[in-house]
Each structure stands twice: as structure tokens, then as C-alpha cells.
Symmetry: C2
Subunit: 278 residues, 2 copies
């Protein structure tokens, strides 16, 4: 099934299309004990190995914890317990909870760097690059639906750097490819903005449509929440089937292509994006 037809001794490269939503584990380095303990273990015995605490391990555990139990469930004390340690021990590696979350965001975004689908820079032109980058970000969002909203929310490293391509590294990379491809500086920056707001909006919607359903805690409620009185909204009711249909992947593809087409016409005509095309 995982049929690696290519010569892949390394890292399990995915070769299939973009629709599979792989949900791959963040890192192959989290020890991950036998773990048959059940699904809600707020204060059970430590499921992760003993000593050897360090920043990387803490961040990895935090991501895993959020993926599993939701952001609200992550407390310093519980994370400590999860790592087999008292909460206070974490402060040796992380200044506080806020910075922990910053680290979580940074780590998740940096997963892009290990993604071979993305990293062959502008081999086939800027559109190809932008496509691969966008799909890489989407893979991350879908792999960590509980973390992704943080990406949108946390203030970034530099004030003018905005989500979701938060890391300066990626922005540098994006801008480089664009300017090398004939975008003026103004056009490249405008393209960056349009691109990131597209990614942010689409992926936030998509992510909130999936996994996050109901609040992470009180899911087992029974009735699927008919608190609001439908019936004042006949059209919504009539179109419910369509409204709940999940076409995210196709919509992503189409909107992305449209955006890239628009950017291309800006580039080709040497305009600054604000201007009219004719």
C-alpha cells in the first residue's frame, strides 16, 4: 500500500496526490510508549519516557498533546505529567506557557522544512513553487487542526511578517522566487500578502470544518445540538446537504489556481497589483 516505487531509503516520502490528508505524525522521534491506555487520560501515569528532558522533546510532546486533547487541555502541569516530570521542571527549558505556544507554532511551521515535496525550490517556475508550498502548508494544517488556529493568532517574529508563512525563512524564500521570476518588489510583496491571506482563510475554514467538531471536552452529548431554531432559515435548511458537503480539496485547488493566474497576469503586465489591468 505505501508502495514506494522510487528509491526511498529515507523518511517515507509520500508520492501520491494531495487529497489523502496523510495525518502523518509530527516527528519520528517521540518515543511514544505502548500507549493502549485509552483516549482521555488527563492525569494518568506518564505515557512518555523518563529523563532526558530538553526543549525539542517538550515541544514535541506539547504538539502531540494538543493534537490529542485540544489546545485548552494543555496546561504546564499536565504536560509535565505527560512527560513524567513535575510542571516546574519545564521552566528550565521554556520561559513560560506563552513562549511554549510560540515554540509549538514555530515547530509546526518548520515541518515544512522536512517536506521533500516542497523543498525543491523553483525547479519548475514560480507557479509550481507556490503550488507546492501551498500544499505543504495545507498538509500541516490538516495534520494539526488543533494547532493551526494558533498559527493564525499568535503575533509573529517581526511585526510586518504575517501568518501563515510566519517564518522569515519562508518569506525570504517566497520573495526570492517571485522577484527572480520577474515580479517587481512591489508586486512580490503584494503577491505575498494575497497568497498568505488566501492560505489563512481557506485553511482556517477547512480545519474548523473537520476535526475540531464540538468542543474538545464535552463531545459525547447525544443530540447534535439543535439549540438554535431552524425553520426561520428555510434556504439554509433546504441547502443543508450542499452546505455540509466537503469540497474543500477541490475548492482549495480552484481558488489557488485562480489566485496564481491573477498573479501571473500582474507579473506579465509588469503592473503593481493595485492597478487596473487594461
Amino acid at each position: 500500500m505505501p508502495g514506494g516505487t522510487r528509491a526511498t531509503r529515507r523518511r517515507e516520502v509520500r508520492v501520491d496526490g494531495e487529497d489523502t490528508i496523510p495525518m502523518r505524525r509530527p516527528d519520528p522521534d517521540s518515543p511514544e510508549g505502548r500507549g493502549g491506555a485509552g483516549i482521555v487520560v488527563p492525569a494518568g501515569p506518564p505515557s512518555t519516557g523518563r529523563a532526558g528532558l530538553d526543549r525539542r522533546r517538550i515541544l514535541g510532546a506539547a504538539i502531540e498533546y494538543i493534537d490529542r486533547h485540544g489546545l485548552a487541555a494543555l496546561t504546564m502541569r499536565r504536560l509535565g505529567a505527560h512527560l513524567g516530570v513535575e510542571a516546574m521542571a519545564l521552566y528550565r527549558y521554556v520561559p513560560g506557557r506563552e513562549q511554549l505556544l510560540d515554540g509549538v507554532v514555530e515547530t509546526v511551521v518548520d515541518e515544512l522544512y522536512g517536506d521533500p515535496e516542497v523543498h525543491l525550490r523553483a525547479a519548475h517556475g514560480w507557479q509550481d513553487y507556490a503550488q507546492r508550498l501551498a500544499h505543504g502548508v495545507r498538509r500541516i494544517a490538516l495534520a494539526h487542526p488543533e494547532v493551526f488556529p494558533l498559527v493564525a493568532t499568535r503575533p509573529p517574529a517581526a511585526p510586518w511578517v504575517r501568518p501563515p508563512l510566519r517564518s522569515l525563512r519562508w518569506i525570504e524564500s517566497f520573495l526570492t522566487v517571485m522577484t527572480d521570476s520577474g515580479f517587481s518588489p512591489e508586486a512580490a510583496v503584494a503577491a505575498y500578502r494575497a497568497y498568505s491571506s488566501f492560505l489563512l482563510g481557506h485553511l482556517l475554514l477547512e480545519v474548523s470544518q473537520k476535526g475540531v467538531q464540538i468542543t474538545p471536552e464535552d463531545a459525547p452529548e447525544g443530540v447534535p445540538d439543535t439549540g438554535t431554531d431552524l425553520g426561520q432559515y428555510p434556504l439554509v435548511v433546504e441547502l443543508e446537504e450542499l452546505l455540509s458537503r466537503d469540497e474543500s480539496a477541490a475548492e482549495f485547488e480552484e481558488a489557488l489556481e485562480n489566485l496564481l493566474d491573477r498573479l501571473e497576469s500582474v507579473r506579465a503586465e509588469g503592473r503593481v497589483p493595485g492597478e487596473r489591468s487594461e
Copy 2:
């Protein structure tokens, strides 16, 4: 200056363009004491009137508090103090903090209903309607930059209803206008999705670019955070001036118009949005 040239005995209708970012107060009903007490008053004397606690007043105070001090600063206890009451008194009107926040989101979104610029439905066609609605949402986002991320994050009333047009009311309205204007049900739903993800992405970026700068608490720090080593990112540095330039309003306009053009071509050709145009 506020020159109401029209016959405006009611409600202070704004007549000017969309760029002014009015920051108007949420409601004219919050008593708002003399209020010269300074800007950070975490536990001062109650700034709002005495008895007469009710749900509306609580929600209004919560919004005001978030606008002023940031979301993280809002606790039940502080909100109680702000209202001149013990925290426990709030529980008579609101089931808990989470539901308080839901109420905040709902209230803020419902401000659209009091916006006369938006409410003259499809008088001039669906594009005009979609434009006014979008600008209405943008006004709200800019008026409550600290609240808006909640709009994006909170789970909505119905599972298939997604931010930022969270209220079923608005979705019903949008879908009605679209189908009345010749969109097929499929096209109307796809249009709704594209429209909301556009609004979400753009406004979240714009809002995070403004007011929210730094964390709400530790703003007075001195050095503007040069924690990260620039210089590995020459292009980012070179384009910093462009990157920090705020063209949000123009970008919003252009991207919105582009989206509407795209939707119009879908409508005119009677396609389902997924299909190719020729």
C-alpha cells in the same frame, strides 16, 4: 466634521467612504463613567453603574473589556468587578466563561444588523449586496480587533455553518440574494464558501497587522523585539519598507472585486464553480 448632510435624526449614520476605520463604540447604551482613571485598571473601582445586571449589559461590558485590555485579560472575576459585582453574580445570566465568549461573538456579529449601510438588501443587485456586506464585516473586524479572532475560532451554531458569517441569519440572507440572482444552489453554496474564506483570511491578517501589536500585557518593553537574527534574510530586510506598508484597504477592495468578478462569470455561464470556464 461628522457632517450629516442627510436627514439623520437617528443613530448617527456614517456617510463617508470605507477607509476611515471608524472604530465606533459597540453600543450607545454602556453608561461609561467619567473614565479618566488611566489605561490599565486591572482591579480598580467599578467603572460601570450599579445594579440592573442583565445579559445584554454583561455582554456589552465583556466586549468593551476585551477591546480595551485584550482577550486574555478577561476573567469572570475582573468582568464582575468591572460591573461592580462579584464574579458569581454573572452566573445567573451566563452559564460559564465559554458561553460568555460565544455570546460576545454573537453580539459582535449581530452589530451588522444595526448597520444601515448593509441592510438595504439587494436593492442594486447581488454584487452590490456582497460588497456592502463585506465592508460591514470589515468595519466590525476593525472596530473589535481583539474580538475578531474569536469569530474565526469559536465553533459555530450549526456544524456546517462557518465563520465569519456565523449567524444563520446572514447565511440565509446571502444565499437568498444569490439564488434570487440566478445562482444555482450549488453555485450559491460554493460562492458562500469562497466569500467567507476570503473575508476570514483577509480580515484576520489585517486585524493582526493593526492594534494587536505585541502581546496585550507587556507592550512597554522598549526595544522593538529584534530577538531574531535578521541578515540571514536579505530580501526581507531589503523589502521591509514595502512589507510594513499598510495597503490593506486597497488590497481588500481589489481582492473582493476580483472574487465577485469570478463569481459573476460562474453565474453567467451557469457553471458549478468546480468546472473549467471554457
